[in-house]
């Protein structure tokens, strides 16, 4: 990829509704993940590791935590003189809407897209966790002389609104594109990572807006499926799609398998995030930790099994925490028992309390709650 060949556009809250427990106070992009990350870190790191150095982040509402997290883009090396990272909240003019859907959002940032010197645009979503080189996808796109390339995975389709499914022909061309209906069968489904020539995107968006249509998948992709050369690029390596609290929980837990963890946190394509300057984690006398991922800044005096502990978590003496995701700054006091629980940031569970969910229905405790 030559410099500024591709413009990145990240939708930070296209699917907030499917994870409402954690997205009530934040965007999907700023949902904490795997001990020290936010979901947007994965796509931003993929962008940077693939040489995309101009990234616009589209956001709609409650984006304070997102702004706080991404800052100037420095942590991803996206604080640049040319390009870099730009946050794109709704910009209220007569023609632009409030980023209620992708078409409206893309139309709202048309001047940003127009101003870019890039030849291609890659659009991504934050509910996908992957370590994926967009460069390889660009090579594929050029080789096939495609109009649109959609990255896809194969398996049980996630339950997302307007999810695209399709058949993939031998050469990678897509056929039988459709909006997914609920099925338990394994299918090829889009992971909402779409590569397209900038001019074509501008043209397509202009067309649907002028026809007063608004669904990106239906009105931009499906409506043009016969006219355009649409190819599928299969994602290799670790890929997870979040479509519910349970899938969020399971995706976190899947990283307790070291080989999965190594796939996602590939040393040649590191995942960047904002630094918090915690001291390393301190294990006390009598601590017992099994099969867990532990971020910096924790103080552990109790028992922890099959858990993900975020930065700065305290586990008191005699506490037993299992199968849980404990987010940043949570304090678990002495003799507490937790099983299958997700605690949002800065929760306190006071001495001796006990709480449990079940593995296919974890309990979620909201930010800052004291139990």
């Amino acid at each position: 990829m030559r410099a500024n060949e591709v413009l990145g556009i990240v939708f930070s809250n296209a699917y907030d509704k499917v994870l409402k427990e954690l997205c009530e106070i934040r965007t999907m992009g700023s949902v904490p993940f795997c001990g020290r990350y936010r979901l947007i870190d994965f796509t931003l790191s993929n962008m940077v590791n693939s040489g995309v150095s101009n990234v616009g982040i589209i956001t709609k509402e409650h984006y304070q935590s997102l702004m706080d997290h991404v800052g100037t883009g420095r942590a991803w090396d996206l604080s640049r003189k040319n390009g870099g990272m730009v946050l794109l909240p709704p910009f209220n003019t007569a023609t632009a809407g409030k980023n209620e859907n992708k078409v409206q959002a893309l139309n709202g940032i048309s001047s940003f897209i127009q101003g870019s010197k890039a030849e291609y645009v890659i659009m991504t979503d934050c509910n996908v966790v992957s370590n994926f080189n967009y460069n390889d996808m660009l090579e594929f796109h050029k080789e096939k002389d495609a109009d649109i390339t959609i990255a896809y995975a194969h398996g049980k389709a996630p339950k997302l609104p307007d999810l695209l499914t399709f058949n993939v022909e031998g050469d990678g061309k897509l056929s039988k594109l459709a909006i997914a209906s609920e099925t338990d069968k394994e299918v090829n489904y889009s992971i909402d990572t779409i590569l397209i020539k900038k001019e074509l995107l501008e043209e397509l968006i202009h067309d649907v807006v002028s026809q007063n249509k608004e669904l990106f998948e239906r009105d931009v992709i499906l409506a043009n499926a016969d006219k355009l050369k649409i190819y599928g690029y299969k994602v290799e390596g670790f890929t997870g799609v979040i479509d519910s609290l349970l899938s969020y929980y399971n995706l976190n837990m899947s990283l307790l398998a070291p080989e999965k963890c190594r796939q996602l946190f590939d040393q040649n394509a590191p995942v960047y995030t904002k630094v918090r300057d915690d001291m390393p984690t301190i294990y006390g006398l009598g601590s017992q930790v099994k099969n867990s991922l532990i971020a910096d800044g924790c103080i552990i005096d109790g028992e922890v099994e099959n858990c993900i502990l975020f930065r700065g978590v305290h586990i008191g003496k005699g506490a037993k925490v299992s199968n849980s995701i404990i987010m940043q700054g949570t304090v678990i006091e002495d003799d507490v028992t937790l099983d299958c629980v997700i605690t949002d940031k800065n929760v306190t569970v006071s001495k001796g309390k006990s709480l449990s969910g079940v593995k296919n229905y974890p309990v979620c405790i909201g930010k800052g709650i004291v139990i």
């Binding site: 795997c34 001990g35 020290r36 420095r74 307790l256 070291p258 963890c261 996602l264 946190f265 590191p270 995942v271 960047y272 630094v275 300057d277 915690d278 001291m279 390393p280 984690t281 301190i282 294990y283 006390g284 006398l285 009598g286 601590s287 017992q288 930790v289 099994k290 099969n291 867990s292 991922l293 532990i294 971020a295 910096d296 800044g297 103080i299 993900i308 502990l309």
Partner: protein, 401 residues
């Protein structure tokens, strides 16, 4: 031209730290890793920022490459600033010729122009050799209150250790009566911490005089401060009573790391009101497996622990394989301890490999003659081969097979 700055810090980071042997073969002492994620220099740099001193000159000389890269633009310490910030000051060529920094005072002398650019009222002189948390702004307030020419931070040390230090004998008002440099018979147990605040115009004058004095060794403790004392300048001791440790030897480095696990030691790095900043590696949280045992230890990000770790400090990106045992040891970034290896009372430097079944160091109670016992050290990038042994007190810089 920079604007006027009240106080700037000059951090002497050129020391070799020769007593740290293989650990400082390729890096300067201030770049030596400490405490699971830090380097020694993080302490004075973070102290400066937390004390509101945002202009810091770092004087480097010995093996500066890694240190320069580590400091970079100073961003991790919030010292990337339009006005001030961190500056690396290495010796440079001048009309008179090229001169290395001969000694501490000479190093500052050679940078008079740098200091003048900021036109400071006061200059804080620091060294990159110590682990401590200190509010320099309080010391500066004291310096002003005493209307001192020079204020020297002092610490009470155990009497039996006093002969190792520069000792100050003080009057009732804390003004300095007498200096004793490493005295056999100390008259006081107030030791100099190597932290000085000078009024810049005074220091400037004495630096020039010191440079012109051919008999001077150009050292702050030996020459410049005694010269000020001889001229009846106002010199005061500033009492500090927190944790302070010189990590100049293998034993003291090992001890200072394990001090972090001692609840009776007054050094809390988790205190958010006085953070110690460092350049963090990009790595995921650490993983502790089903079979592992981790007790009373410090572990940082990117590591995978499948063996037993007790009373140890582990830096980022370490692999401890199954059945490997680590007791009372310091394992620096990127090292690998393979299956069934045993590491006890040891320091394993960066990116070293301890192969299967190898044994590094031993417990003092296992040793017959305690005089032969000490902390074992495996140098950076060194490999200890399968079933090989590194004896206590041994320090290896080449692969052992």
């Amino acid at each position: 031209m920079a604007g006027k700055t009240e106080c700037i810090a000059m951090l002497l980071a050129g020391g070799q730290g020769s007593r740290l042997g293989v650990l400082t073969k390729k890096i300067a002492k201030p770049a030596v890793p400490y405490g699971g994620k830090y380097r020694i220099i993080d302490f004075p740099l973070s102290n400066c920022v937390n004390s509101g001193i945002y202009t810091v000159g770092v004087l480097t000389q010995y093996q500066p490459l890694e240190l320069n890269e580590y400091i970079g633009d100073g961003r991790p310490w919030d010292l990337d600033r339009a006005n001030g910030g961190v500056h690396i000051l290495s010796p440079y060529q001048q009309i008179k010729g090229t001169a290395w920094y001969k000694n501490t005072a000479n190093a500052i002398y050679q940078n008079i122009n740098f200091i003048d650019r900021y036109d400071p009222e006061y200059v804080l002189i620091l060294s990159g050799d110590h682990i401590y948390k200190m509010d320099y702004s309080k010391m500066l307030a004291y310096h002003k209150e005493k209307d001192a020419a020079c204020t020297i931070a002092s610490l009470e040390v155990p009497w039996e250790e006093a002969p190792r230090f520069g000792i100050m004998v003080t009057n009732d008002d804390n003004s300095i009566k007498e200096f004793q440099e490493k005295p056999k018979e100390p008259k006081s147990n107030k030791a100099s911490m190597g932290v000085y605040i000078f009024s810049w115009q005074k220091l400037r004058q004495y630096l020039i005089e010191d440079e012109n004095n051919e008999n001077s060794g150009n050292d702050f403790g030996h020459d410049l401060i005694p010269a000020m004392h001889a001229n009846n300048e106002r010199l005061f001791a500033y009492h500090f009573d927190g944790y302070w440790k010189d990590v100049g030897t293998i034993d003291s480095l090992w001890e200072a790391n394990l001090d972090l696990l001692n609840p009776n030691v007054d050094l809390d790095l988790s205190d958010t009101t006085w953070k110690i900043y460092s350049r963090s590696p990009v790595a995921p949280p650490h993983y502790v497996s089903e079979k592992s045992v981790v007790q009373n230890s410090i572990v940082s990000q990117g590591s995978t622990i499948e063996g037993s770790v007790e009373y140890s400090v582990l830096f980022p990106n370490i692999t401890v394989e199954e059945d490997a045992v680590i007791y009372d040891s310091i394992i620096m970034p990127g090292s690998v301890i393979k299956k069934g290896a045993t590491v006890q009372y040891a320091i394993i430097a960066e990116n070293a490999v301890v192969e299967e079944g190898a044994v590094v160091g031993e417990r003092p109670e296992q040793t017959e003659n305690l005089d032969d016992w000490g902390v074992a050290v495996v140098g950076p990038n060194v490999k200890v081969g399968k079933n090989c042994k590194v004896k206590p007190k041994e320090m290896i810089s080449e692969d052992r097979v």
